[in-house]
């Protein structure tokens, strides 16, 4: 199978060539475009108040999404793996919906539900709390698009770990709380970190769902991705390209982290 295959070299060349043109060349494109602007322009475009505000907002939204979805992701994984109940398959199916729904449609759903005239939004409006076109709405939209990651990564690890160690902890007199912190959580550690990394990557990069619910207000509800879009529509290419390159470097770092984690999980 290995040798005497004349098509082999051709196939390798075609596949590597396609990959290089489709994926690697665009990366080169953005690096070159940013370099063309010059380093000082890149630095000054990244340090404008708008840019700094946008990146800071992305940071806070990502932090909120990671904390909330890690807690609920672990709870959902525990429930779906360790408990038996009717409609479990349906819940599992619904859990994947955020991956299938268009981010624009997702944002729109939250406008309908949490908007000033919405079922839940109108109540908050009465209390003087704005959800849509404000930070809470942007966090909710990010929570939706990243909801499955932690749960989906923890579930298979939890399934594989089994119940034995936990049962042993109970026999030795551990409380459920102790068993969770000392036995369950360490056993799902790598799956959890992988899920969190995916959540971070998606939160930083989310655009569609956030632009719909945010109203895109400069210096108020504009995240890093919205800032890039703004720069592009204002023909402020230096701002758009340098912010995009910064996000690309961040994503690349996260990708390398994910690959390292993957290898570690496969080894252990």
């Amino acid at each position: 199978m290995k040798t005497n295959n004349p098509g082999r070299l051709v196939l390798i060349t075609l596949v590597v060539g396609w990959f290089a043109v489709l994926i690697l060349l665009p990366v080169y494109g953005i690096v070159q475009e940013t370099v063309k602007s010059g380093l000082s322009l890149v630095v000054s475009s990244l340090s404008t108040p708008h840019a700094r505000h946008a990146f800071l907002l992305t940071f806070w939204i990502t932090l909120a999404a990671v904390i909330i979805n890690t807690v609920f992701g672990i709870i959902i994984a525990l429930v779906l793996v360790k408990q038996e109940f009717r409609g479990k398959l349906l819940i599992e199916g619904l859990l994947d919906l955020p991956f299938a729904v268009s981010p624009i449609v997702a944002g729109f759903m939250f406008i309908i539900l949490f908007g000033p005239n919405g079922l839940i939004g109108s109540w908050f409006e009465g209390q003087g709390i704005k959800i849509i076109y404000a930070l809470p709405g942007m966090i909710i939209a990010t929570l939706f698009v990243t909801l499955p990651f932690v749960a989906r990564e923890v579930m298979p690890v939890l399934r594989e770990a089994g119940l034995e160690q936990e049962e042993a902890a109970y026999v030795l007199g551990a409380s459920p709380w102790q068993a969770f912190w000392r036995v369950t959580l360490p056993s799902v550690k790598w799956g959890l970190i992988y899920g969190v990394t995916l959540t971070v990557a998606r939160s930083i990069g989310e655009f569609g769902a956030v632009i719909v619910v945010s109203g895109n207000i400069i210096n108020r509800t504009q995240t890093a991705t919205l800032h890039i879009h703004q720069g592009f529509t204002d023909f402020n290419y230096a701002a758009a390209y340098s912010a995009a390159l910064l996000l690309a470097i961040l994503s690349f770092t996260l990708l390398i982290t994910m690959q390292t984690l993957n290898r570690r999980t496969n080894e252990s």
Partner: protein
């Protein structure tokens, strides 16, 4: 077994608490928004909803979305399977780096992907102006949409096929080869049938992703009605121009296609599992 013997009274109330927490969270973030949207879309009656969906501009954007997604899927099936094959069966310098970089489109924000493609193929770029000389416009045109979709969905088929190909027993292939079958015959009669479920899974995932894609498309194709406006961009435009009613029609259509694809994926998985058990 041990579960029944061991007393775990404390866990009972804890179990119920955890279950209510997960139901509540999924209910609030996933189920309730979907129900509210569907109810809202039906408030004006089915005929009004149908009228919104069949507006020429809406219908054009829906058709453009489906056609470009379909072309992308056809290309991805071939290139994705070939990529998985090369990564699993052959060794060549740089293979590990390439394997690690396959997921790059998943890690990259879609708007950054769009900006990259504009930087490379846009009117200001070397390639863009070269192509323009031959009257080929990639950006703000259908090829740009397909290119953006190919970028953002590239890993789906590769990552679906790769693990199946690694597990695939090569005895049958060896046997066929001994009996004098050509490599093409071996691939199409023996390898491809076993890869089919995973290729379909990857295809369905990339199709579903393409139907909803927004960030990269708005960068490379813009928002030109009857030309480059895809469904998600149309919905966005309607929301931005304070016409939520007009956005409902296509949103519900996209939502139902997402449901259908999820069902199809579950069916493929179920069918595959039954097939394996036989």
């Amino acid at each position: 077994m041990t579960e029944n013997i061991l007393p775990r009274p404390k866990m009972r109330s804890g179990d119920a608490l955890l279950r209510s927490a997960s139901f509540g969270y999924i209910g609030l973030l996933i189920i309730l928004p979907i129900i509210v949207m569907i109810v809202r879309s039906l408030q004006g009656g089915l005929s009004a909803l149908w009228a919104d969906i069949t507006l020429p501009q809406a219908l054009f954007s829906l058709r453009l979305t489906i056609v470009t997604a379909f072309i992308m899927v056809l290309i991805n099936i071939v290139t994705g399977t070939a990529t998985a094959w090369v990564l699993v069966r052959y060794s060549f310098p740089g293979k590990q780096v390439m394997d690690a970089l396959i997921d790059l489109p998943f890690a990259m924000p879609t708007i950054v992907a769009g900006i990259m493609l504009v930087a490379l193929y846009g009117p200001r770029s070397v390639i863009g102006s070269f192509l323009k000389g031959y009257n080929i416009e990639v950006m703000f045109n259908t090829p740009g949409i397909i290119l953006a979709l190919l970028f953002v969905t590239f890993p789906f088929v590769v990552r679906a096929v790769q693990p199946v190909l690694i597990e695939l027993d090569q005895d049958m292939e060896e046997a066929a080869k001994t009996l004098g079958a050509s490599s093409a015959t071996i691939f199409f009669r023996i390898v491809l049938p076993s890869l089919m479920p995973s290729i379909l899974t990857g295809a369905a995932l990339s199709f579903s992703r393409a139907l909803g894609e927004f960030g990269s498309i708005i960068m490379v194709a813009g928002n030109i009605p009857f030309r480059t406006q895809v469904a998600s961009v149309y919905i966005y435009g309607e929301i931005e121009s304070y016409n939520p009613q007009g956005a409902l029609g296509l949103s519900v259509v996209l939502l139902f296609i997402s449901f259908a694809i999820l069902l199809l994926l579950n069916f493929i998985q179920y069918w595959n599992r039954r097939h394996e058990n036989q």
